[in-house]
Symmetry: C2
Subunit: 304 residues, 2 copies
Amino acid sequence: MKVVSYRHQGKPGVGVVTGDKGVIALSKVAPALPNDLRQILQIDPGLEKVRSAAAGKTADLSLADIAFDPVIREPHATWALALNYTLHVEETGLTTSPVYPQIFLRMPISQVGHKEPLWAPRKDVAEAYDYEGELALIIGKPGRYIKRKDAFAHIAGYSCYNEGSVREYQGHNRQFGLGKNFERSGSFGPWLMTPDEFGDPANHTLITRLNGVERQHAKISGLMHDVSRLIEYLSEGYTLQPGDVIVTGSPGALPLRAGEQPEKPVGKVIVAGQLHMRPGDVCEVEVDGLGVLSNPVIEDPTPR
Amino acid sequence: MKVVSYRHQGKPGVGVVTGDKGVIALSKVAPALPNDLRQILQIDPGLEKVRSAAAGKTADLSLADIAFDPVIREPHATWALALNYTLHVEETGLTTSPVYPQIFLRMPISQVGHKEPLWAPRKDVAEAYDYEGELALIIGKPGRYIKRKDAFAHIAGYSCYNEGSVREYQGHNRQFGLGKNFERSGSFGPWLMTPDEFGDPANHTLITRLNGVERQHAKISGLMHDVSRLIEYLSEGYTLQPGDVIVTGSPGALPLRAGEQPEKPVGKVIVAGQLHMRPGDVCEVEVDGLGVLSNPVIEDPTPR
C-alpha cells in the first residue's frame, strides 16, 4: 500500500494511491481519521484502519490533481545519518565509528514534498548546495530498547529522501547545525510504501539523477548501520514516536563523465563526482520498486 | 510579564503569573486563544493579546496547583549551542570557530517542565549524565535575514534551560546526535519572561546548583556568540518560526570544593568541576531576576 500526504483545493489530506495513479481520499472513506499522517499513525501505527477503509474503493482524485506534502508534514523528530555507506566514507576521506551511527536532526521547515521546488540559497549566501539521495523509514508502533530482530515491527513504511545540504554552513563548525537545515533544502516523498509491499530494504537500489543524469547508484545493502541497527540504537535513548523519520544516509557519488568539470572545492572535503544543485535543475531520488521523488530547484525567493 | 505553560486537572493551559504566585488562566480571560503557547505566538507574536487579556485580572490558580509543562511544549525547532562561553572552551581543551556558532538540535521528547523529574539513564545504558545550565530565548515574530540591531524585536521572551547531556552517547561519533536527546534528559522553564521585564540578557547571571551547591556561576555577558548574533546567523538559513527556541550555551564549571572527588573520565573531554546527575539529586538552573528551574532526578523507569 502507498499512502500519500497531500493538499487538494488548499485542504490537507491523506490518501491511498491506486494502481492507475488515482488517490482514495481518506476524508471520504474514513472521515473519522485525522487529516494528517503523523496523527493517523498515533492511533493506527500499522495502518490497518487505513488499509481496511480503502479496500475495494475507487479513486476520488488523480495524482495529477494533488499537491504533494512531505510524507510526514511535521515529524516529532527527523534523524539523518552521516557517513553510513563505506564508499561515501572512502571518497570523503573522513572517519566515522564502525560501532555507533553518526546522527543529527533536521527540522520540519527544511523539507518539502514531491514536485515542490527546492530552494537553492541565494548566491550571496552559499553556492555549494548538494543533493544526497537516501532511503527514509517512518516509525509506526512506538518502542524503547528495541532489539534488532524486533525492529521491523516498528516500521510503518519507507520513502525517498533528498537530504539537501549547504556545505559552506555544514563546515562552519564541528556540528552540522544549520548546513543540514536550510529552508526547503530537502524533500521527502512521494509517498510511504508499507513494508509488506516494499520487502527487505537491502534488496533495493538507490539512484539519484540530476537533470536526468545518474549521479548516485548504490545497493541499499551497502548501509554500514542497517535499518534494524538504527532503530536499536535510537531506541536506547528514547521511545520512538509514531511518525518519527530515520533518513538512512547517502551513498557515494558516481565519477564525472568525460569532459565534465568538478565543482570548486568548499572546505576540506572534496567528493569528485558531487555536483551542486542550481536554480533550473531537476533532482530525482529513486528507490527501485518504491517510486521517484522529483523536485525542481529554484533560487530562494525570500527577499534579503 | 511571565507566561507559563501548564496542566491543571489534566488539561493543558497557558497562564500569566501574578506577583503573589497566582496564575491568571487564559482559558478564562481569553477563551478564544489556543491553549498552547506556540500556537498563541503564531497569532500573537508580541504577546500583546495575552497582556491585555490579563490586565487587571486576578489569579484563578496558584503556582502550587499546576503541573509545569516545558515553556513551549513541542517547538518546531530547539537549537542548542556547543562551546559558547570562553571558559567552557578552555576547560574542555576543545576548539570551536570564533566566527560561526556551533549548533545542534534537540527534539521535544528530550525536555520536561519545571519540577518534573529528569530521567537519568539506567546504569547499564550510561552513567555520565550531566547538567548544563543555560539561558533560552523564545522567538515571537518570524523573520529571515535578520540584522543584529533588529534581532531583539523577534524575541518573545526568555527562560532557563537545563540542557542535560549523556556524555557516552555524545561521544559515540562526531555529531552529538542521541547524546543530547535522551528522553526527558533536559528541562525548560519555569516560565517565559517578556523582554520588557527581563531587559538586556548580558546584564544577567546564570547559576546552576546540584543539591543546593553552586556548580556553575557565570555572567551571560560572557557569551561568545550573543543573542543577537545567534538570531542573525540562524535567520540566514530559514525563516525563524514563532515558538522556536535557542538555548544559548553552557558556561564553565566551578572548581570542586575541598575533599570532593572528580568523576571518572568518559572519553577524551575532562571537565574537572563537572559532576553527574544521579537519581535522588535535585538540579536547579537560575537566571537572576527571571526565576529558578528546579528538577528532581530519577532513574529512567522505562522497562528494558
